[in-house]
Amino acid sequence: MCLAIPMRVESVEGHLARCQAKGVFRDVSLFMLQDEPVAVGDYVMVHVGYAIQKVAEAEARSAWELYDQLLAANGPGDSPPS
């Protein structure tokens, strides 16, 4: 449950961002990143619907690769990757 997933910010409205990871879109709260500027094109680590940290694109890509492998190995878990 403590596994956060990196997503790309596609649009921002107040504390809410529309984010995307590998074609999957989610509404993500930026409330915990309100003290830093977050812009379209940034990457954020998302955990239970909240962005917990900004990350570089390279970090996002290596994490995506890992989650692909985990998913292929184990199948999706109970908790949706939000």
Binding site: M1, C2, L3, A4, H15, D27, S29, F31, M32, L33, Q34, D35, M45, H47, V48, G49, Y50, I52, Q53, V55, A56, A58, E59, S62, A63, E65, L66, Q69, L70, A73, N74, G75, G77, D78, S79, P80, S82
Partner: protein
């Protein structure tokens, strides 16, 4: 970039004169280790121990029971992260023993994936009480705090079973037999709380520690760091996930945790009370505290209240005292299809992770 193979070569080149036990305290770490097959790839002398990394596994049985009764008797809309729904409580045969069974019995139980969904459901049902049963470590509790700080609808109540990770490690280290020689600290807990939280492992207990991310490279880098520290005698807190777990952590998230919640002594299922290891709502948020608003159904006189299910060794698995496959029920009476204990239910439970990672053999004894 150093590849996983390079790290493995470096680790294999280290001369270890005795077995070394490295504990991790994160279900995500354990899942990466298991699915990448890191145990088998490392020299035999290195033992990777899954430790307290599953908040659902240690969520008090009384809290699960209370959540079920709120849904069954008080007819609230009960929302919880999906993991929580199949966690069994101890009741006589034939009685409702989990939130899923409560749902089947007609209670309004809904799985959610985010605290924002709890808020949305409360807003959509203004004339009904909604209880958000929230178990989790710091990474998950911070978003609950953020949702409260942003403003929760008046019909939304939190049944909070939030836990802090480090006090369980501190408890183990203060015990007579901690059961590990080095610690790999959790990457996303450190992202929120700051890697510095883990300094006490090095400074107060003299054990090497390294924060790790979730790729095999990051985990192997952390193993290599602590093994080299053991060899050289040097001791420091290394950070093998610096791109994400930054110094100081997420200060905004920490401020939200601090304004809405206080740190209290808390009960861990099958383990007991660990000082300063849990979160409770601050008095300013009492209007949203499900523990204050609803009758207490936990019935402490209930048979086996608070315990793990009969025959389940989950508490010792959580503490790293027993490997999942050493449990007598592992893979026999207990599988993800028919879980006996919470460690086989939760995605972060070591039993579940080992079983879905293909571990079918009983563990070798030391």
């Amino acid at each position: 970039m150093t590849t996983a193979r390079d790290w493995l070569d470096r680790i294999r080149a280290l001369k270890l004169d005795r077995p070394v036990k490295i504990m991790n305290v994160c279900g995500g770490h354990e899942r990466s280790i298991t699915s990448a097959g890191l145990r088998g790839a490392l020299p035999e002398a290195i033992r990777l121990i899954p430790g307290p990394g599953c908040p659902v596994c240690v969520c008090p049985e009384e809290d699960v029971y209370q959540a079920m009764q709120l849904a069954l008797q008080d007819r609230v809309i009960l929302v919880a992260f999906g993991d929580m729904l199949r966690v069994p409580v101890n009741v006589p045969k034939g009685e409702v023993r989990s939130l899923v069974e409560a749902q089947a019995a007609g209670a309004d139980v809904r799985p959610i994936a985010s605290p924002t969904e709890a808020r949305r459901i409360a807003l959509e049902n203004p004339d009904r009480p909604v209880v958000f049963f929230a178990a989790g470590f710091e990474t998950t509790t911070a978003p609950v705090a953020a949702m409260l700080a942003e403003g929760a609808p008046s019909n939304l109540y939190i049944l909070l079973s939030g836990r802090l990770t480090w006090p369980a490690v501190a408890m183990l280290l203060e015990s007579e037999a901690p059961g590990f020689d080095a610690l790999v600290a959790p990457g996303h807990v450190s992202t929120v709380m700051g890697p510095e939280e883990w300094r006490f492992v090095v400074e107060a207990h003299g054990l090497p520690a390294a924060v790790a991310g979730f790729t095999p490279e990051s985990l192997l880098a952390a193993f290599w760091s602590v093994l080299r520290q053991i060899g050289s005698g040097a001791r420091f807190l290394d950070n093998c996930y610096p791109e994400v777990a930054r110094p100081g952590g997420n200060k905004t998230a920490q401020r939200m945790l601090d304004t809405t919640l206080e740190v209290v002594d808390a009960n861990w299922r099958g383990i007991g009370v660990i000082p300063k290891s849990g979160y409770a709502l601050r008095p300013a948020y009492a209007a949203h505290d499900a523990r204050l608003h609803f009758p207490d159904h936990s019935a402490p006189g209930r048979r086996r209240a608070g315990e793990m299910p009969p025959g389940c060794d989950c508490a010792r698995v959580v503490l790293g005292k027993l490997m999942p496959s050493e449990c007598r029920l592992y893979g026999r009476a207990c599988t993800p299809r028919t879980p006996v204990g919470p460690c086989m239910v939760s995605d972060e439970g070591a039993c579940r992770i080992w079983w879905s990672g293909g571990v079918r053999e009983p563990a070798k004894a030391d």
